[in-house]
């Protein structure tokens, strides 16, 4: 069945993560001290899987009987997921002790959610998209409420669950209508018949349901209401995972479906939809974030705004904006994981020290931490020459090429607004005296995760062209 050695090689990430999950379950149930093993084991399998994925970027092959594609853009997405999850796990080791009781399931769920994301980003069949989405989402529902004794975690978990399952309902109904009108679940077949199908109102309805369902998952404006509460209530490391790799996975589905449509059909029929959610999310996220004093909640609103910037690329729908989105997603993943990593270091026991006042005077007390926080805030605000700037730049360029200059202008305006609340954190760190006694727990593992994310953000900022060319060549192939 699989004579080709490339195919076996490209299957390895899935097999490694899948076998890793089973092995982790066996370890968790048989060894009492699993907290000493599981994080390192998770990091190991994520690292191996990331390396194998990125090594196979040159060749694209279809695996598992036409279900999953590997290599190409899927390789880039797999790299983002695995490295992001590895950083989050590194960040979690000490944070979990502070946050509450240790549950071994934490690491198993992180691994399973990464498997789900990999299934989504490589999907060649709508069934795979659905299974991957659900594997990821169900793990996230549990992760959000992993500390079941804490009411804030319970609330976050339930809000996420109810609204996430609601979105799932839309996705599955949309998929059902798409299947019914196109008589196939293969994405390639649906795309090739797209011009014929788009005249069928049922197909259009199904497609819109699918778009709405995934708009929930990327946290775009009219479907954002769960984001602030869930991001604030969940454990900070989990929020880091959900807001970055989860968003990337949802965007990867948009890209694999829409990119194929754009490449075969010159007119983008979904521009109005994406332009609307992009402009509204950008403005809403940026404006509401100004009034937030809780840093976690501020980052949640900023994540809505970032979903808006990325959706500009979907509205423009050309190759340069697609590769811009992927670059943006990679940059956003690492800068946000870094920012949440610092938030998790500063955070005290029982959800304390999350307010912006806890950051006052950090520049004197802990210069390293403050410097990295400033780096991530500048990157998120999109100040050159950091990764965030080039992410926005490429997406805006794509929008102008696609004739959506007004959308790029709104993007620039909301970036300018967003500079205010990002820099506010920096101002607090360097120019305000601390009001209260802040105890920062020494946490070398989290710090190393932050340093790695920071280095990635700087590298992406220094060599954006190389990376963009890599992404573009993977997209065109």
């Amino acid at each position: 069945m699989y004579q080709n050695s490339t195919e076996i090689f490209q299957m390895m990430p899935f097999i490694i993560i899948g076998a890793g999950i089973l092995l982790s379950i066996a370890v968790e149930m048989s060894i009492k001290k699993s907290e000493l093993i599981l994080p390192w084991f998770s990091i190991l399998i994520f690292a191996v899987s990331a390396v194998i994925s990125i090594a196979g970027i040159q060749q694209e092959s279809v695996l598992f009987g036409g279900m999953i594609a590997a290599g190409g853009k899927a390789a880039i997405f797999n790299f983002i997921f695995n490295v992001g999850a590895a950083l989050v796990v590194l960040n979690s080791v000490d944070y979990i002790k502070k946050y509450g009781t240790y549950y071994g399931e934490y690491y198993i769920l992180v691994q399973s959610s990464v498997l789900g994301m990999m299934m989504m980003s490589g999907a060649k069949d709508i069934i795979m998209i659905f299974m991957g989405l659900e594997l990821m989402s169900i793990c996230f529902y549990v992760l959000a409420g992993i500390n079941r004794k804490k009411f804030s975690a319970n609330e976050a978990s339930m809000k996420y669950f109810l609204l996430g399952a609601f979105a799932t309902g839309f996705v599955i109904y949309g998929i059902a209508l798409i299947y019914g009108t196109s008589a196939t679940t293969k994405i390639d077949d649906i795309i090739s018949g797209f011009n014929r199908l788009i005249t069928n109102p049922l197909f259009v309805a199904g497609f819109i349901f699918l778009l709405i369902g995934f708009s929930f998952k990327i946290a775009a404006f009219p479907f954002h209401m769960w984001v602030p509460d869930v991001y604030q209530g969940s454990a900070t490391t989990v929020t880091g995972l959900m807001s970055t790799t989860g968003k990337t996975a949802a965007f990867s589905v948009f890209i694999i479906i829409l990119a194929a449509i754009f490449s075969t059909h010159s007119i983008n029929k979904f521009t109005p939809y994406f332009a609307a959610i992009a402009s509204l999310s950008m403005l809403y996220g940026s404006i509401v974030a100004i009034s937030q004093d809780n840093v976690k909640r501020m980052l949640a609103y900023s994540s809505i705004a970032h979903a808006g910037y990325m959706a500009i690329g979907l509205a423009a729908g050309n190759i340069s904006s697609e590769s811009g989105i992927i670059f943006y997603l990679a940059a956003y993943t690492f800068m946000n994981i870094g920012a949440f990593g610092i938030v998790s270091i500063i955070e005290g026991e029982n959800d304390t020290q999350l307010g912006i006042s806890s950051y006052a005077g950090l520049g004197n007390r802990n210069p390293v931490l403050a410097a990295f926080m400033a780096l991530f805030m500048f990157a998120l605000a999109g100040i050159p020459p950091l990764a965030g700037f080039f992410g926005k730049y490429y997406v805006f360029i794509g929008a102008i090429e696609g004739g959506l200059t007004w959308l790029a202008v709104i993007g620039v305006i909301s970036s300018v607004i967003s500079v205010y609340f990002y820099l506010r954190v920096v101002v607090y760190m360097y120019f305000r005296e601390p009001q209260e006694e802040i105890k920062i727990y020494s946490d070398n593992l989290s710090l190393s995760a932050v340093v790695v994310s920071g280095l990635l953000v700087i590298i992406f900022g220094l060599f954006p062209d190389t990376l963009l060319n890599l992404i573009t060549s993977a997209l065109i192939r």
Binding site: E134, F151, N154, E155, K159, A176, G180, T185
Partner: protein, 102 residues
Amino acid sequence: MTSIPMEYYLVLSGFMFSVGIVGVLIRRNAIVVFMSIELMLNSANLTLVTFSSYLGNVTGQVFVFFVMTVAAAEAAVGLAIIIAIFRNKLTVDIDKINIFKW
């Protein structure tokens, strides 16, 4: 005996889906909201089976298996979350579960 036209099933499933949406939006008990979501999933299942049967294409029915499995997993997780909330707060009214405000 003439067979029932496909539109009837689609209208029924569309109706079920709408009932589910309305239930999610207006009900305040977490378990009832969850049941409404299950209704949405099941209306999608009905659509899939209908299309599968009328197209003579078995993929839709296979898909229904997966949807049912996912719905079961979701049900288990959802009930666990609701039980965790009930243990802490002794309520499942989603209006009373609102410690977060902006």
